[in-house]
Structure formats: C-alpha cells, structure tokens
C-alpha cells in the first residue's frame, strides 16, 4: 500500500527531524521509560537463563527486589556501593575533559592500571624504608605521573600527525596489562603470580570506615571538575576545540596545546583513580586490578552527557545494576557473569532512548501529502 503525492513520489512511512531542545521533564520521562523497558527485557532474559526462575515463576518479584537489596540491603553493602560508585566515577571524571574535546580516550583502563602499578611499585621498593607519609606522597606522585604519561603519548601523536586516538589508546591498555604481568613475574619470586598485600603504604582511614576518605576525595574531585569545565578558561577552550577545531584556530586557541594539556590532566586523574585502588583498597596489583571499569567509565561519562554532576547518577545506576545482578547471581544460584548481561541490556535501552531525545519522529498520516 504505497501512498504517493501529486508528483508520484512515495512519502516515507517515518520522517525524522532534529529537535532544537527538549523539556528536561520530558527527557527524564523518556529515560525512565527506557530503564523500565530495559528491566522488563532483563526479566525475560533472566527467565530464559535462570532455571530456578523457570521452576518458580512467582519469584520474579524477588528478582527485581534483588536490585535494591544488592546495593542497599545492609549498611555494609551500602558502603561498598558508595565505594564502587566513587572509583567508577573517578575514572569517568578523568575521561570527561578528553571527551568534551572529542578526543576519544578509550585508554582509561590502561591509564588507571599503570597508575596502580606505579604506586604499588614505589611501595614495593621503598615501603618500610621511608616514613609512611612521605611514602604515600611518593606513591601518589608516581601514580599521577604514570597515568599522565600513558595519556600523553597518544595525545602527542594526535596533535602532531593526527594519529587515530581511539585505536592508539585502546592498544595502550594492553601494553599496560602486559607490563603488569612482567613486573609480577619479577616481584613474585614464588611463581604464583599473585602479589601478596603490602604491609605499608595504606591510605589512612577516616573515622571507623575505610572507604570514607576515598568517597570524600572523589566527591571533591567531582565538584572541582564541574567548576573547571564550566567556569575556567581551560574548560572553555576544551569546549571550543570539541565543537570545531577550525573555530578554535580562528579565535587563536592553540588546539595542539589544548589536546596535550587536557590529556595530561585526563591521564593523571586516571592515575589518581589507580592510586585510590592501589593505596586505598587493594594494596596489591594484578592484570585485573581495574577490572574493565576503564571501559564502563566511558559509558558512564557519555550517559551523563559529560556533565560531572549528572555522572554521579549514571555511575550510581551502573553500580546498582552491577551489585543487584551480583545479588541475583547469589540468590538464584547463577554463576558469574550475569551482571554484565543485565548492565548490557539496560545500556542498550538507554543508548537507544538518546535517539528520542535528539530527534522527533513523524509518522506518515492518512492521505495528507508532503507540504
């Protein structure tokens, strides 16, 4: 049934146009619908995958309740949730300045890992030989420098020769991973490949909670990053370079300088995240220290529209899903990787919903013709 106008040209069934702006309330509703639809699909997929649920379909309520229980069930789980959000948010904040200038730094994983490696390396060689405060400062400096180095190498090549930064930073992740394996081979003489926890170089605890200091550091960083991107000259230059390199050149911004400066910052902050993981939590390093959070952070930053304050919510959402799915794995006896499946499905829906925020969809109406 093809509809044709006077000229005999078929009018397409669906017509798209770009929105200029969208009411914030409407945007929120669209996003909520996406998350709810995603959760429904998660339920269906879970029904296919989880045998316990097939035997007792009435436990589907428990299934959804687990999302809340996983993150907020006990005070211990809640602190763990806050810690997980903080680390993920820290890496996301680090990547954000680069993304705002359309520099696709997908090397957050490697930049963070090399930060962990550097700070544990300092601890390994000088732990116990230096006073603890000095050691902690040295570890921090090493982590910042290592992260910055890992971020700056691709930036230099991007600025000088336009080398594709997405692919370059991706490769740097693996160089970092194998460097960690290399140092583990040297440091661990037993051959087990697992570095025992360090006795020195632990971040002090505030009050009686070992996570509180990390949470406060990341909170301060969030506000600082918001101010930096929004109100500083640097932040403005980053936005201009991101919008159009030509405009930047025209108004006299040296875009090469901005790219390199921003990537030093981005890499160094990833190094900071590595320091929080190394000195604050693990006191050890392994190829899996960052555990893919460098990649998740890319999605957190993008979902938060590169706005540091919104990213608190998006990293929170991801971690609710992660911990909730881990809880489901436990309650319904599903091995391992279920959180990835659930996070993936919800992400598909949120990513898809962006379309309805940016575009208006018009369907072909009755016999009307195109104006």
């Amino acid at each position: 049934m093809s509809k044709a106008n006077k000229n005999g040209v078929r009018e397409p069934l669906i017509h798209l146009s770009k929105r200029d702006s969208i009411h914030p309330g409407k945007a929120l509703v669209i996003r909520l619908i996406a998350v709810v639809l995603g959760l429904v699909v998660c339920g269906l997929v879970a029904f296919l995958l989880i045998e316990r649920l097939q035997q007792k379909p009435e436990r589907i309520g428990d299934f959804y309740y687990s999302f809340i229980k996983g993150a907020f069930g006990t005070s211990r789980k809640f602190w763990k949730f806050l810690k997980n959000v903080s680390i993920l948010l820290c890496i996301s904040l680090a990547l954000t300045p680069a993304f705002r200038m359309r520099f696709w730094n997908i090397g957050g994983e490697g930049q963070t890992l090399i930060g962990v490696l550097a700070c544990i390396g300092v601890d390994f060689y000088w732990g116990g030989k230096l006073p603890e405060p000095l050691l902690l400062v040295l570890m921090l400096l090493a982590a910042l420098a290592a992260g910055a180095l890992w971020g700056t190498i691709p930036a230099l090549f991007k600025a000088k020769w336009g080398t594709n930064e997405t692919l370059f930073t991706l490769m740097m992740n693996y160089v970092a991973t194998f460097l960690v394996s290399f140092f583990l081979m040297i440091w661990v003489t037993s051959g087990s490949g697992v570095l025992p926890q360090m006795k020195t170089g632990k971040l002090p605890t505030l009050g009686d909670n070992s996570y509180l200091l990390i949470i406060l550091i990341v909170l301060a960083l969030t506000i600082a990053m918001y101010v930096y991107l929004r109100y500083s000259k640097h932040g403005y230059e980053i936005s201009v370079v991101g919008e159009s390199v030509r405009t930047a050149q025209y108004v006299g911004i040296n875009e090469k300088k901005v790219i390199i400066r921003t990537m030093i910052l981005s890499g160094a902050l990833c190094g900071l995240a590595g320091y929080l993981i190394g000195a604050g939590l693990d006191l050890s390093v392994s190829a899996d220290s960052v555990g893919g959070q460098g990649f998740t952070a890319i999605m957190v930053s993008w979902l938060g529209k590169f706005n540091p304050l919104a990213m608190i919510l998006t990293s929170g959402l991801i971690q609710v899903l992660n911990q909730g799915a881990a809880q489901i794995s436990q309650d319904f006896d599903v091995p391992g990787a279920l959180p990835n499946v659930i996070v993936g499905i919800i992400l598909f829906f949120i990513i898809g919903s962006e379309f309805f925020l940016n575009y208006r969809v018009h369907f072909r109406k009755g016999k009307e013709t195109v104006k």
Binding site: I106, T163, S181, N340, G344
Partner: protein, 317 residues
C-alpha cells in the same frame, strides 16, 4: 627443521581466529562504523555454535551436517548481535563507541553464562574431529588445519576481491568515505551499513567459534576469546583495511603470540619467564608503530575510512 614447520603451522592455525575477527571488522569499518562490539560478537558466535553442537553433538546426523549446523549457529548468534549494533548506530544514530562497548559487555557476559551450562563432552569431543576434516587423525602438524581454517583464508580473499573489484565494494567504500555523496548518487546508505555490519559480525563470530571448537578445542578456551577480539580490532590497523593482508598480519600475530611459549624450545636461546609477558606485548606495540607510521606517511589509501565513527543523518548534510 620439523620444529620450525610446526611452529609456522601453529601460527597459521592460531592466526585464522584473527583473520575472521579482523575481516569482519574491516567490512563494518568500510561502511563507516567502528564496531568495538567485535569482542562480544566473537564470544556470542562461539556460544551460538557450541549451543547448537551441544544439542546435536552426539546425534546420528552425518558429520558434514553437524559441521554446517554448528557454523550456522555461530552465524545466527553473531549476526543477531550485529543487528542490535546496527539498529542502534544506523537507525537510532547512537554513539558508536558507547554502543560497541555495551555490546561487548553484553556479549562476553552472556557467553559466560551460556557456556558454563554446556557439556564439553558433547559439544567438543566428537565435533572437534569433524571440523578438522580433511586432515583429521594425521600424526603430523597438518592435523591442526581444518575446514574452518581454509574457510577463513577464502573469506579474507573473497572480501578483498569484493571490496576492490566489484560495484558493491565500490559503493560500500563510498558509504564509508562520504555517506552524503553516496546518498546523492542513489546508493541506499542505510541498507549498505546494515548489510556490511551484519555480514561482518557473522564473519567475526565464526572466529570465536573456530577458536573454541578447533584451535584450542578445550573447555576453558571461551575465557580468552574477548582478548582475541580486541587484538582483531588492532589487526585491522595493521592490515591497512585490506582483508587479504589480514592473512599475513594474523600469521605474524600468531607467530608473535606463540613465540612466547615456543622460544624456550630453541636450543641456544635462554629466556627467563619474566620475558614472556614482554613477548606477548609485541603484537600491540607493533600495531601502535604501524598506526603511527601510516599516519605520518599520510598516504590516502592507507588511512581509515573518512567518516569512520560518525553517524549519518540525511537532513544535516
């Protein structure tokens, strides 16, 4: 002498995983889509094939049918992933990097959940020999090469021919370089993007399947498919976006990868265990060097497709 031959054949066999992965990725990238979902797609391809084999592995079906059905299972699962990716990035114009990463998260997770339920004595033990046709049962190193290996080489050569020698290939490259121009001359941009992504995903998925069922043929093989997926994306750069070059590139990657475990067998060379990770790092370092050199030389034909990573919206041109 024989030792060197074994080494080379092993590198060929290992490399076939990358031939699949990167040929698939090249097709997608030629349509202008940087698909970072390839690791997840390769995992899902592996899971799909094994799922089918888990159902028919012990049945009385003739071996060639079992081989074909396994391949079909891998194709269906990975092409479905490709469909999700292309719906989000082509129709809904989502950010390609974010969509790809989400797909990898999803695919790797789902594969791990699925594979743990399967029984390796059914999907692996019997079918493994069928996939090694025609060299199955031989005593020399040739027995490592099977149907899926030769298919990989053929697919890479065919993809190269289609891209450079046919009208379809020309149109596809036009879509990746400048979709607005392609649209203006009447090429259906959306259809090309969908087709290239889905076919590319199907090819990549076979790579994961091949690695699990044929090259490694072990129960834990599926755990390392993701890492190979990322390496396949690296290989695209190395092969300068030309499918036939992936054959050479992946053999080289295979050599670099397996030389870490092989080098200890060579008399006269002593390496400490600590050197092993450094050797394994080589493929990535070599890729970075190739990426840098090709950007410095800046020859037009060695560059990524011009609109790689950008969505196309007709009314915005």
């Amino acid at each position: 002498m024989n030792m060197w031959l074994n080494f080379l054949i092993d590198a060929f066999a290992f490399g076939a995983t990358f031939i699949y992965g990167s040929t698939g990725e090249i097709l997608t990238e030629k349509a202008g889509h940087l698909n970072l979902g390839i690791p997840g797609i390769m995992c899902m391809g592996g899971a799909g094939g094994c799922l089918v084999l888990n159902m028919i592995g012990r049945s009385d079906l003739p071996p060639f049918l079992i081989v074909i059905l396994g391949i079909l299972g891998a194709l269906v699962f990975s092409m479905l992933c490709g469909l999700i990716y292309s719906f989000l990035t082509v129709s809904l114009r989502s950010n390609q990097n974010v969509t790809g990463l989400a797909l990898t998260t999803f695919g790797v997770g789902l594969m791990k959940v699925l594979m743990i339920k399967l029984d390796a004595t059914i999907y692996l033990v019997g079918p493994k020999q069928m996939y090694r046709w025609p060299f199955a049962g031989r005593q020399d190193s040739l027995q490592a090469l099977g149907v899926l290996f030769f298919m990989a080489v053929l697919i890479a050569l065919a993809a190269g021919w289609v891209l450079t020698r046919t009208r379809i290939g020309l149109n596809l490259r036009a879509v990746g370089e400048n979709p607005a121009t392609a649209d203006a001359v009447g090429i259906n941009v959306t259809r090309y993007k969908y087709m290239a992504t889905c076919i590319g995903s199907g090819i990549a998925g076979l790579g994961g399947f091949y690695y699990i069922i044929d090259y490694m043929a072990s129960q834990e093989a599926y755990l390392s498919v993701e890492a190979l997926g990322w390496l396949s994306i690296a290989l695209v750069i190395f092969a300068l976006w030309r499918p036939p070059l992936t054959i050479i590139g992946s053999t080289l990657f295979g050599l670099l990868f397996s030389c870490a475990s092989f080098i200890t067998n060579i008399p006269g060379i002593t390496v400490t265990m600590a050197m092993k990770p450094l050797l394994q790092m080589l493929p990535y370092v070599v890729t970075i060097i190739v990426l840098v050199i090709s950007s410095i030389r800046n020859k037009r034909e060695n560059q990524p497709p011009a609109s790689l990573g950008l969505s196309y919206f007709r009314e915005e041109r």
